[in-house]
């Protein structure tokens, strides 16, 4: 059986990749993907602990996270399309109308 620490390291790596992508990338779609990556990194932690502790709680959390991620994807993509229609770009550095 694979030890728990392996899973945790993998999920930390996934999460770190997500954070890095979120901070570095300018394309809004890539940023969105990075967020999904972070979410799934966390999901992996959940299921790893659930298996370890023989508890269903972690699994249920994962389902919740996936449902929320799906909803978020729907809303997020809609927003992205709307932003693209008005700004004709997907570069977040140019989507800065909310600044002071």
């Amino acid at each position: 059986m694979v030890p728990l620490s392996y899973y945790l390291v993998l999920s930390a790596v996934l999460f770190a990749c997500g954070v890095a992508g979120f901070l570095i990338k300018r394309n809004i779609i890539t940023i969105f993907l990075s967020i999904e990556l972070m979410l799934n990194g966390v999901n992996l932690t959940f299921v790893a602990f659930a298996a370890q502790l023989k508890s269903l709680d972690g699994h249920i959390f994962v389902f919740f996270v996936m449902v929320v991620a799906a909803a978020e994807a729907a809303v997020g993509l809609a927003i992205i399309i709307a932003v693209f229609r008005t700004r004709e770009t997907l570069n977040v550095d140019r989507v800065n109308l909310l600044k002071l």
Partner: protein, 677 residues
Amino acid sequence: MSMHLWIIPLLPLAGAAINGLLGKRFPKALVNTIALGSTGAAFAYALWVAAQFLALPADQIPYLETYGTWMSTGNFSVHWGFWLDQLSFVMLLVVTGVGFVIHIFSVGYMAEEGGYYRYFSYLNLFMFFMLMLILADNYLQMFVGWEGVGLVSYLLVGFWFTKVSAANAGKKAFITNRVGDFGFLIALFLLIKHFSTLEYAGVFKAVAPFAPEASAGLLTAIALLMLVGATGKSAQIPLYVWLPDAMEGPTPVSALIHAATMVTAGVYMVARSNPIFSRAPVALEAVAVIGTLTAIFAASIGLVQNDIKKVLAYSTISQLGYMFMGCGVLAYSAGIFHLMTHAFFKGCLFLCSGSIIHGLSGEQDMRFMGGLRKYMPWTFWCMTSATIAIAGLPPFAAFFSKDAILWSTWSSGQHLLWLIGIIAAGMTSFYMFRLWFLTFWGEYRGPNPAGGGHGHDADAHQAQDAHATSGAHGHGTPHESPWVMVLPLVILAILSFVGGWIGVPESMHGPDTFNRFLAPVFTTYAPAGIAHAVMSEGAGGIAAESSSELAFSLISVGVAAFGLFLAWYFYYKRKDLPAKLAASAGGLYRLVLDKYRIDELYGAVIIQPLIKFSSVVLWQGIDVKLIDAGVDNAAHGAEEVSDGMRHMQSGNIRSYAGWVAVGATVIIAFMVWRGLR
């Protein structure tokens, strides 16, 4: 059986509310109907109550009505209630009766003034508060009335508020009263602290075990603080200064509030609190001395004033001094007796002066009057009755009441106070007959006279013109007032004549009804040794003393007649003498004419330093430099900080994300550090 006393004060309150809220659109006739109707109904109801009260058996007096709790906290509670005993009975009839009569007079006097509904609304409101004051069954409710009449006094003194002097006089009246009220309030706090009650019945029972305090103690402190309140409301030294200025108000107001009723509230309060005062000889002494000093001090100022209302104002202060003098020598009933007769004759005098002012289109300076006997016969005869009454000639009202006070003062051993009192009585007689001769005898000295005029400074005339705002009196020659103004004069003149007869002392083979009637109020809770004193003085004295009482009455009459003679000699026979005398007296005359410059003294010692302190320290120091600056600096600081912080909001999503990452890192680092520790 319930008398429903609450109806009496509520009627004028309803009148005040209706006229005050809606009266602007009402025609004058409707305003009159509401104002006079409510006051008249209150008077009529008071008469019915009086009849019921007289039929009550002695053990049901004081008659009490309680309506419910006002406030309750810990072991202290106050309720709404009314208390009717012989003292409030007298006050009730005086206030509603004289008040109603003066309401009638106002209809004529104010007919051409702006703010008609406002005036009557205030007047009704005054009746409400005054009735609350005299009918209350606890000190707190009395205080409500006490403050209320102060408020209405302020409103009515400043009735012509577009005149700066009137507005200032209103403020002066209110603020001076506040000084006195402060003392009264502390007295109430002391009562709460030591007796846990403010109800008359409770307080009187609580003080009953106390013996008269040989030196200053708790009761002396309470009584002295109450006296401070009374000096404010009743215009005694040192807080009398507001009353002469209060003459800026309409004359019927001067008659009702500043002569007949409100200013006597202090006397009423002292008499009402007699169980406390009787146990505090030091405070009683203070009451007597302050009263006597005020009596002569104000009378001496009245000697030389030229404004007809100012003479009457100082006369009022002086007469109030007599009332305090009576209370101060335990002759409470004599003080209240004088209060009642004073309400009649001083009300009449003020209304007569109002009638004169009305007839002369606003002239108040007696130097421009004279010879009015021909033009205003009704006013003349009414004023004559009231003048003789205040001078103390028999058988007019004040002869009996003032004499009762002076005799009580002598027989209580205060011979010096008696002497001062009798001198003041002579002065009273002199200045009143001076006023009488100056206004009604000789030749008319005003503008447009019937027989050739004496010129006078038109500007001075304008300044004296209380009706300047109306300007509606287009009459040139003096004229008698309409019947609606004359009728009240006649009523009060008759009362000034006969009002004293209910108190004819035994020494003159009278039944002494008034003293006997009031005696229970002042003996029930009196300390053991003093009950006898109150009775023996109040009830006219022992037979052996009655002959000397008669002799003292003769002295009073002699003094009054001497005052009359002097006034006649100076102001009728040898009219050139007063001016010569004034010239030879020079500085002294100026000093008295300027009211001993007490206003200036107060101005220099109290008011100016206070204004200086307020403007330099409180306003420019604390307010501007501390409070305002603190608020301003807080706002500027917030602005500076925000200005720096706003650069964080770049609008760049990645920089936001960076901040989130930094924040997360910091939190994680902190948790790790905590975990490792």
